[in-house]
């Protein structure tokens, strides 16, 4: 079997945006867009398989994307694999090399890679053999303009970092939420996200897309699962997430895919380059080289696990003996204003006992949950979540220590839309879970822990303005009026 190599788009596009791979991709996108939406190899059909507001044609496999589940990574790997075959056929037909493979966008490698690759920002291009500029198939205006990502605004390091995700050695289960996500059935809903899905996957989506409506695709494509795959950069973003999964496995140290029949044998349906239906399951995609015939040009993952997160890897039995129990929670929703929002969580006696127990090594984990997200729009920003962030702290310089993770609204829908007539809308609220055992331990050992309450701070973080422009990622704003329904703490005792 030939092994295709997926390469970094920034490497390919240096020094010119129009290298053969990017050119082939643009030509294939243009060709696929000309096909009917009922054709499984068309751009519209492939995008709608992820999600769509349009009514599916009879028998169509639309609205299949898996989020908030342990199927998130394998489903998207299969989705990309079959999409890549369709694109390769179209690209080769247009003159691209036979070895064409989907590139990936590694936005975590510092400037300028945190910016959208140049070929995706150009409004026009001149295809090979053409003699006049025409609309660039890789460009769309339905992206973040606040600041303008098509104008060179970049993703901030705190958003593109995969350090927290890589600190998990478990794919699912405890410590929660695991690298790959929680055990679920078919999950076209959102629910609680796995660590890699939560960061960098989700915030990259909303920041590339910008504010979106969650009712149609009139704006902010990448921020809405029902529109995201229409943007050609979507596929490079997911190739990067797929690469991060491969590299996480390659790190070893107990990191492995679930050895669970429920995970390995769950069937999903896709379409190949000839428009033939294909059924695949996670067990078919665990080894990309042997089973799928592709690899990434980068197989090494830096050991970037931060010391504080390292304790997340405390070995736990695959099925902990007891479920987590809620020990403290806020009662009222909190609006996320334009700047920092502090939410105090009072700690009753059971919570104090849980904290005292959890800080002893091996006794269990303390989790912070942020649930019940609500908003009138999907905000084109993410929110840093800090535990006991000092008053007046300089976020650029001091925020790292108190940061426990990010929340974003990718996949958000209003519950009132959850009807069977609208099956692409999820049921129930979005949830985020962060392990705060290490942070609490730090605060206790430094004498900064308040036994009576925890202050959880939400700080908006958006795109970094284009080079040469004033401002920081923390200056980014959204038109949305988001809120969180509840902030709570649970304790999960160890065996």
């Amino acid at each position: 079997m030939a092994v295709y190599v997926r390469r970094s788009i920034w490497g390919l596009e240096t020094p010119t945006p129009w290298d053969p791979v990017t050119t082939g991709y643009a030509q294939a996108v243009a060709a696929m867009r000309k096909r009917l939406a009922t054709d499984p190899t068309s751009w519209a059909y492939q995008a709608a398989m992820h999600g769509s507001y349009a009514a599916p044609p009879p028998g169509a496999t639309w609205n299949q994307c898996q989020h908030g589940t342990w199927y998130f990574l394998p489903w998207h790997r299969m989705y990309l694999y079959w999409f890549e075959r369709i694109v390769r056929k179209a690209a080769v037909a247009a003159g691209a090399p036979q070895t064409w493979a989907l590139p990936y966008w590694n936005y975590s490698a510092g400037a300028p890679t945190n910016q959208l690759p140049p070929a995706f920002r150009l409004k026009t291009w001149t295809p090979p053999g053409g003699n006049a500029p025409q609309p660039n198939p890789l460009y769309t205006a339905e992206r973040n303009h606040n600041p303008d990502i098509n104008g060179g605004a970049g993703l901030p390091h705190r958003v593109t970092s995969f350090a927290l995700a890589y600190s998990f050695t478990n794919f699912t289960g405890s410590p929660y939420p695991g690298f790959g996500g929680p055990v679920t059935g078919f999950s076209h809903d959102s629910g609680t996200f796995g660590a890699l899905e939560n960061q960098p996957h989700n915030p990259v989506h909303v920041m590339v897309g910008g504010d979106a409506t969650f009712t149609d695709c009139s704006r902010g494509w990448m921020a809405d699962p029902n529109c995201a795959a229409q943007d050609p950069i979507f596929w490079l973003h997911h190739a990067n997430i797929d690469r991060l999964w491969s590299n996480w496995i390659a790190l070893g140290g107990g990191r492995m895919d679930p050895n669970d029949r429920r995970w390995q044998s769950f069937d999903f349906t896709f379409w190949d380059e000839n428009g033939t239906k294909q059924v695949m399951k996670p067990a078919d995609v665990m080894d990309t080289i042997r089973q799928l015939g592709y690899k990434y040009d980068d197989r090494s993952a830096p050991a970037i696990v931060r010391a504080r997160f390292a304790m997340l890897s405390t070995p736990q039995p695959p099925e902990p003996p007891e479920p987590p129990r809620l020990v403290a929670a806020t009662e009222a929703p909190a609006e996320l204003s334009g700047g920092r929002t502090d939410v105090a969580v009072e700690l009753p006696q059971p919570a104090r006992e849980a904290v005292a127990s959890a800080i002893q090594p091996g006794n269990g984990h303390l989790y912070l949950h942020v649930d019940g997200l609500d908003s009138d729009l999907i905000p084109g920003v993410a929110y840093e979540v800090h535990v006991n962030l000092p008053e007046g702290a300089d976020l650029e310089e001091e925020g790292e220590d108190s940061l426990v993770g990010l929340i974003s609204f990718f996949g958000f829908r209003r519950d009132k839309q959850a009807t069977e007539d609208n099956p692409n809308h999820p049921i129930g609220p979005i949830g985020h879970t962060f392990d705060i055992t290490g942070r609490v331990q730090e605060l206790r050992s430094s004498g900064q822990w308040d036994e009576g309450r925890v202050v959880v701070s939400f700080v908006p973080v958006g795109l970094e303005p284009p080079p040469g422009t004033e401002g920081t990622a923390h200056d980014a704003r959204t038109e949305a009026k988001p809120s969180v329904g509840r902030v709570s703490i649970s304790f999960h005792p160890a065996a």
Partner: protein, 237 residues
């Protein structure tokens, strides 16, 4: 304490025990020839109201309780005092079912008082109509929306309390909407009532929890129609 027991959410183990007791009581009653304790015409036969209510509560607990367990787990996981929260939630979940069954009993008793006892052919036709109506409901869009409402949850305040009671009432009402017609068919079934109860309990659980729950609509409707036709053909003594 076994791992299985320790892994149950607080409050849900008690519910499981209650359901087991309810099923044991139902099966024991039928096995000992006292199945008429659970007939819908008990009021007409002059039985005390509290015994009617107790019988219905037992039926609702046994048949509708299992499908409610995942939601009871959700309530348990999201409240600071899970046991009372689960108890309140579940008690309120059963209330719409009791109201529904009592309303049916009252209507049935009134009908019999006005029209008298039917012939076997008429009774068979009524049972067949109940099964046909349940089959039609299985295929309707409104039924699907009720099932979806059964599976939807709000974020609960951690203190539980009134929110748990509201959730229980709302879920119970939605589940009456989803499964009420099948429950009526079960109550109208003159033969094999325990079997119908077990089948309905299993179907209700699968309709709420299974991935391919929508695929259950047509087979279940076909079974209901077939049984209804059989009653129509044979009549009911």
């Amino acid at each position: 304490m076994s791992r299985w027991v320790r892994r149950r959410r607080p409050g849900t183990l008690g519910l499981l025990a209650l359901m087991a007791v309810a099923w044991a009581a139902l099966l024991a009653a039928y096995a000992s020839g006292h199945g008429d304790w659970f007939d819908h015409d008990r009021l007409a036969r002059g039985l005390a109201g509290w015994t009617v209510l107790a019988g219905f509560a037992l039926m609702a607990l046994a048949m509708m309780g299992p499908s409610c367990l995942p939601l009871a787990g959700y309530v348990s996981a999201n409240t600071l005092r899970p046991r009372p929260a689960v108890a309140w939630f579940f008690a309120c979940y059963l209330l719409p079912w009791l109201a529904f069954m009592l309303a049916f009993t009252a209507a049935d008793t009134t009908t019999h008082a006005l029209a008298g006892e039917g012939t076997p052919a008429v009774t068979g036709a009524v049972a067949a109509a109940a099964f046909a109506a349940a089959a039609a409901w299985q295929l309707s869009r409104r039924k699907r929306n009720f099932v979806l409402a059964c599976r939807s949850v709000d974020l609960l305040p951690a203190r539980g309390g009134a929110a748990c009671r509201r959730l229980g009432l709302r879920q119970g009402a939605a589940c009456v909407g989803a499964c009420g017609p099948m429950m009526l068919a079960t109550m109208a079934a003159p033969y094999g009532r325990p079997l119908w109860m077990a089948l309905l309990a299993a179907l209700t659980y699968l309709e709420k929890a299974a991935r391919y729950r929508r695929r259950l609509a047509r087979p279940s409707a076909a079974v209901l129609v077939s049984v209804g036709m059989a009653y129509l053909a044979v009549g009911v003594r």
